[in-house]
């Protein structure tokens, strides 16, 4: 049984179908990368995994550690160890990072009536900040994402990830908006988290650039195209895509799509494959 199993996921917003039968499997102890052109549905997938009420799942399902993920509220998913570092985190006026983090850590650690003791929380926070030297400690006194620069938002997401110690983490373009040095430092921090979890953490890195993948080394790279995962391969796929762009995939994909439409069957051509369920 896989830790995270996405099957034939079909999702729409209002009347627009965005995911058209996406399949993906991820286990703890694995790092996968998800690439794909703008608008192909990567963030939609991440949001649906977390239970964003804005998106409607019309078909397919997601199993998380054997349980029906879609039946759980977002907070239940988080408490069970699922985490998304959002591409566009929202800001929450008047709520300080520190009180938010303390409440979140308490939820994740199963505190029910009260919060994690202040001392214990401070210690944890200090330790995580030390491991992520690009995060300004003063950030915790500020309101959640309010007035943060693009890069600061991404760093704050990573601080949350570090504090919550997730089992499955999806990082949606955490590298976009970070300067070159920061990408390296964030990636190293994440690699340390991953290694320390000792097989108890799985990561899906959504990115447009192979750069971050040089530090966080994925075993699998998937490509999403028009709401489906159309290619899966090893780490070399990321380099190829970066060199050649998505054009190659697009043309092969169109051939396949035409064939499938015509014959209603599974076809393969080059690296592109498309499984109809």
């Amino acid at each position: 049984m896989a830790d995270l199993e996405i099957k034939d996921l079909t999702v729409q917003v209002e009347d627009k179908v965005i995911l058209k039968g996406a399949n993906l499997t991820l286990n703890k102890g694995e790092i996968h990368a998800l690439m794909g052109p703008n608008g192909s549905g990567k963030s939609t997938l991440a949001n649906v995994l977390m239970g964003n009420p804005f998106y409607q799942v019309v078909k397919g399902g997601i199993l998380y550690k054997g349980e029906d993920l879609l039946a759980m509220a977002p907070d239940a998913r988080a408490r069970k160890g699922l985490f998304i570092a959002f591409q566009y985190p929202v800001s929450i006026p008047g709520v300080t990072m520190s009180s938010f983090l303390r409440t979140a850590v308490s939820a994740r650690r199963g505190y029910e009536k009260e919060l994690i003791p202040v001392g214990e929380f401070q210690k944890l926070l200090k330790q995580k900040l030390a491991e992520l030297p690009i995060i300004e400690p003063t950030i915790v006194g500020r309101y959640v994402n309010e007035g943060f620069s693009g890069g600061e938002k991404k760093r704050a997401e990573i601080l949350q990830m570090a504090m919550l110690e997730p089992e499955i983490a999806i990082m949606d373009e955490t590298d976009s908006g970070l300067d070159i040095d920061s990408v390296k430092i964030v990636a190293e921090g994440i690699t340390r988290m991953y290694e320390r979890a000792n097989g108890n953490m799985g990561i899906l890195v959504i990115t447009h650039y192979s750069r971050i993948l040089h530090y966080i080394k994925p075993s699998n790279v998937h490509v999403m195209f028009d709401g489906r995962i159309v290619v899966s391969g090893g780490p070399e796929l990321a380099e190829e895509l970066e060199a050649a762009g998505y054009e190659g995939i697009r043309s092969q994909f169109e051939v396949i799509a035409a064939e499938v439409q015509h014959e209603g069957a599974v076809k393969r051509a080059g690296k592109v494959f498309w499984v109809e369920h």
Binding site: D75, R77, A78, V90, I92, V95, A104, Y143
Partner: protein
């Protein structure tokens, strides 16, 4: 009647009752006449209805003033737990005054503060001991004939706080006063006067609460603040009536040259609350910060009408009211900025933000301007929003339950106010009160 020591009976909004109240307190003749004149005004003025501009949003037809007793003795015995808790929660103070029903039951003032000439007394005691000071200020800023309710107040007033801070005296710790309604079927009319002498400095916390009873009670308080040249006053009024209490109240401040007032009105309790909060900037350089935090739930109705009146040049008023409503509660904010001719180089700011937490709740916002000067800075804005589902999703995605996420968003909504009031105990109390509202 005799056994409870009642000097007037329910339903007695009569000249005879006014006389009995005046007699009980052994008042000087001028006060007795003042009351009787006010009573005439009361009889003359009509009860407001929703056809009156100021009452358009608030229907008082459920208020049965004529079934209530306009004076009630304090019950014997120790302070009720709810009152004691509130008093304790605010911590250290330089002076404390407690009133139950219509009568003051406790007053103390730090010896050193007293030695410097500070007077903190219930209004009747002040009238006996400082007759000239009281006479100089009593209902000088709110005239009895202003409305049916101010006339009623002027005729029947009992209790309330008199505070006088002499020139250049600074009182370090807050002075606190609590007014507590112990009974149902009672009307109270506490009258509070705060006189801050030239260059003086003081913080006052004015608390209001009651037992929750079945039948209604009514409060018609008037607070007058007189800030002399360069005085600095922080005034917090914290209202947490039980759900049976109706209130029609007025807080009016007059600021002389270079005086600074920082005020905060907190509205949490009551069934229906109508409050006029008015600041008149009479001297150049005067500055008034007017903050408000209102949180209504159940079927509570709040109608807050504010006035920032600039009568002198180089004056500043800065108003921020944040109203949250839940369940089927309503909040009304009507804010007037009035700038007199000649009040040039004035800064007048007004912001009202409302947060609606339930479909059945309502927030009304109505800013008004009357500007008769031409060289000034004036901004006003209001915004009403509902809970933002994206914000809630973000918080929930980190493990917070929906209820926790909502509580956090609401606390965040009020955070700006907490930040602007540097009184730790008040902030802590408000956090507790807001959290309690969320779980109700």
């Amino acid at each position: 009647m005799a056994e409870t020591g009642q000097i007037v009976e329910a339903g007695q909004l009569t000249r005879r009752a006014v006389e009995a109240i005046s007699e009980r307190h052994g008042e000087p003749r001028w006060m007795r006449e003042f009351r009787l004149d006010a009573f005439e005004a009361f009889e003359r003025l009509p009860w407001p209805t929703t056809r009156d501009e100021k009452w358009r949003r608030t229907d008082l037809s459920g208020l049965k003033v004529d079934e209530l007793t306009p004076f009630a003795e304090a019950p014997a015995g120790p302070l009720p737990a709810g009152l004691r808790m509130t008093v304790d929660a605010f911590g250290a103070h330089s002076g404390l005054l407690v009133q139950r029903n219509s009568v003051a039951v406790h007053a103390d003032l730090d010896g050193q503060v007293r030695e410097r000439g500070v007077v903190l007394a219930d209004m009747h005691q002040a009238l006996r001991e400082q007759p000239d000071l009281v006479r100089e200020h009593f209902m000088r800023y709110v005239r009895p004939e202003k409305s049916k309710f101010s006339a009623l107040h002027a005729a029947f007033w009992t209790g309330g706080t008199f505070l006088y801070v002499p020139p250049h005296v600074e009182v370090a710790l807050p002075l606190q006063s609590y007014t507590w309604i112990d009974s149902e079927r009672v009307s109270i009319f506490p009258h509070t006067i705060i006189v801050a002498g030239e260059g003086s400095k003081v913080t006052v916390i004015d608390g209001f609460g009651s037992l929750t009873a079945e039948y209604q009670a009514f409060a018609d308080p008037i607070v007058e603040l007189a800030l002399h040249e360069g005085a600095q006053v922080r005034y917090v009024t914290m209202q947490d009536w039980g759900r049976n209490v109706w209130e029609v109240g007025i807080i009016r401040s007059a600021l002389a040259r270079d005086a600074t007032l920082n005020s905060l009105l907190v509205g949490l309790g009551g069934k229906l609350v109508k409050a006029d909060v008015e600041s008149v900037l009479q001297g150049p350089g005067a500055s008034s910060e007017m903050l408000g935090l209102v949180f209504g739930d159940g079927r509570q109705h709040y109608d807050i009408q504010t006035l920032q009146e600039h009568a002198a040049p180089h004056t500043t008023s800065d108003l921020l009211y944040k109203n949250a409503v839940k369940d089927r509660a309503t909040s009304v904010f009507i804010g007037m900025i009035r700038v007199h001719p000649g009040a040039q180089k004035t800064n007048a700011f007004q912001v009202n933000r409302n947060l609606i937490l339930s479909d059945g709740a309502k927030a009304i916002s109505d800013p008004k301007l009357e500007i008769m000067a031409n060289d000034l800075r004036c901004t006003h804005g209001s915004a009403t929003s509902r809970l933002n589902e994206e914000h809630l999703f973000y918080l929930m995605s980190r493990g917070l339950t929906r209820a926790e996420a909502v509580r956090m968003v609401v606390e965040g909504f009020f955070a700006e106010l907490f930040e602007r009031v540097p009184l730790e105990r008040v902030g802590a109390q408000l956090h507790v009160a807001v959290a309690a509202k969320m779980t109700e």
